[in-house]
């Protein structure tokens, strides 16, 4: 059985190379499918826009003295967390639809590879929606006040925050896709788990918008907390994913 022996050797010798190839394949597949259907990005983008309308209603009676910059960060992250849940649900529904997940699990792929590939895909889509949302949001709400923070802080905190959302969200979406009320269950699981991240991210983003005397130290303190959260939660999700996806 020459082929069997070859396979076996191949799987041992080139396993890292294979994992990388599998990772790229899953990621590429998700991106190709997204480009074709535009399901996630359009639904998330439109949802984000609708949130802006709702914010306008919420702030409509605030008066002219009110400075929206003070709550801008909170509003922004609120939009992200809810739109991300919409997208996360979609990202696993198509794996489940035709039983593709089973086919994926049947192939010689390490489960963490699936986790990282899926999480990366979600991170990319979330990033696209954020890149679209932030300018629209600042155009609609932040024109009166002057921008006093340092602009580079915004992409830094967005990246770190989105990593947490994508990582934890991928694990939770893998669970919620098998439950009866998918969207509802995802929200119930996700929002409380995300609380520490959101709190720190809002704090960092507020500093980035408002600036201030000790802006630097406050920003890095919040960033350190986001980093700790991301590290701990990603490791936990990575460890638990194998159990969850196999069940």
């Amino acid at each position: 059985m020459a082929r069997g022996a070859e396979n076996r050797q191949g799987s041992r010798g080139a396993s890292r190379g294979l994992s990388w190839r599998q990772y790229k394949a899953i990621l590429r597949k998700d991106i190709v499918m997204e480009l074709r259907t535009k399901e996630m990005v359009t639904s998330m983008g439109i949802y984000a826009l609708l949130t802006m309308v709702v914010y306008q209603v919420a702030l409509s009676q605030a008066g002219t003295a009110f400075d929206p910059r003070q709550i801008a960060a909170g509003l922004l992250w609120l939009a992200f967390i809810f739109t991300s849940m919409l997208g996360l649900n979609r990202s696993l529904v198509h794996e489940k639809d035709q039983g593709c997940l089973e086919a994926l699990l049947l192939s010689p792929v390490d489960r963490p590879v699936i986790f990282f590939a899926k999480a990366t895909g979600n991170l990319i889509f979330l990033g696209i929606v954020e890149i679209l949302t932030v300018p629209v949001f600042s155009f609609l709400f932040l024109q009166q006040g002057s921008y006093e923070g340092q602009w580079w802080m915004i992409p830094v905190v967005l990246t770190a925050g989105s990593m947490g959302i994508a990582g934890v969200g991928t694990l939770l979406a893998t669970m919620s896709v098998n439950t009866k009320g998918k969207d509802f269950v995802l929200a119930v699981l996700m929002v409380p788990l995300m609380y520490p991240l959101l709190l720190a991210a809002v704090s960092a983003t507020t500093v980035a918008v408002l600036g201030g005397a000790d802006a630097g130290s406050q920003f890095w303190q919040a960033m350190a907390l986001i980093g700790v959260y991301d590290a701990i939660m990603l490791v936990a999700c990575f460890g638990l994913y194998e159990f969850v996806i196999g069940a």
Partner: protein, 249 residues
């Protein structure tokens, strides 16, 4: 059955200890002070006069509502412990795949949720009594609220899955991640700068320590007893199901 008897005994001892602590809290524990109260005229008070202002005389305010502390904090601490226990059984389940650990994890979570609900109720009453508001987004309250939501989410997750084994795996995974998240929320609220003043800290006299320890030990015993009782109920139910199934064959 023997376990059940032990549980009942534990429950009685726990009840006794907490009751004793309750009485000690009123008879021997020193009344703590919290802030000042302004009175119009001088009184013969056990509480010292701290200052005189335009409105009147300022006396230290006896903090009677602090008595809630003696049963509020033990319940809260017990709830933390039981949550960790639940996560521990979750890990055990994931590594062994034995259903008993799933049941244990679920019952522990249920006990923890009961304790959390009680902590919330006593906490809200205390907040109202000493700060004058029913709720305040203060770090401890906030994180506790988040923890309660996580526990509720655990049961929402369980109820939305049909397949028994999948339910067990997901629930175990979520219990673990929730137990990791709870302390993070706890610390993060303390470290993030906010507009709220720093939470006050109460001093602690020896006379206050005794009822607190008694209540704590008693509460842990009650928690353990509740857990054991629920477990034996669950076991009985399982055995009954098996017997019924055997009868049907």
């Amino acid at each position: 059955m023997r376990q059940l008897k032990i549980a009942v005994v534990m429950l009685l001892i726990g009840g006794l200890l907490t009751t004793a602590a309750f009485f000690l809290a009123f008879y021997t524990a020193e009344v703590q002070r919290f802030g000042t109260v302004t009175l119009s005229e001088e009184i013969d008070s056990a509480y010292p006069l701290v200052g005189v202002s335009n409105e009147g005389l300022q006396y230290e305010r006896p903090w009677f509502s602090q008595k809630i502390f003696y049963f509020h904090v033990p319940v809260a601490e017990a709830s933390f412990l039981v949550l960790i226990l639940s996560a521990f059984f979750g890990v055990r389940f994931l590594t062994t795949r034995r259903k008993e650990y799933d049941t244990k994890s679920r019952i522990a979570m249920e006990t923890a949720l009961t304790f959390v609900a009680l902590t919330m109720i006593t906490g809200v009453l205390w907040t109202k009594a000493s700060w004058g508001v029913w709720w305040d987004w203060e770090p401890r309250l906030t994180t506790y609220f988040i923890m309660m939501l996580l526990m509720v989410a655990y049961f929402v997750l369980r109820n939305s899955i049909e397949d028994e084994e999948r339910r067990a795996v997901y629930a175990a995974a979520f219990a673990v991640i929730a137990a990791i998240d709870a302390p993070i929320s706890f610390f993060i609220t303390r470290l993030i700068p906010s507009q709220h003043p720093v939470v006050f800290k109460s001093g602690f006299a020896t006379s206050n320590l005794l009822p607190f320890i008694l209540a704590q030990v008693g509460m842990l015993m009650i928690g353990y007893a509740i857990y054991v009782m629920r477990m034996s109920e669950e076991r009985m139910r399982e055995r009954l199901e098996v017997a019924k199934e055997a009868l049907e064959d």
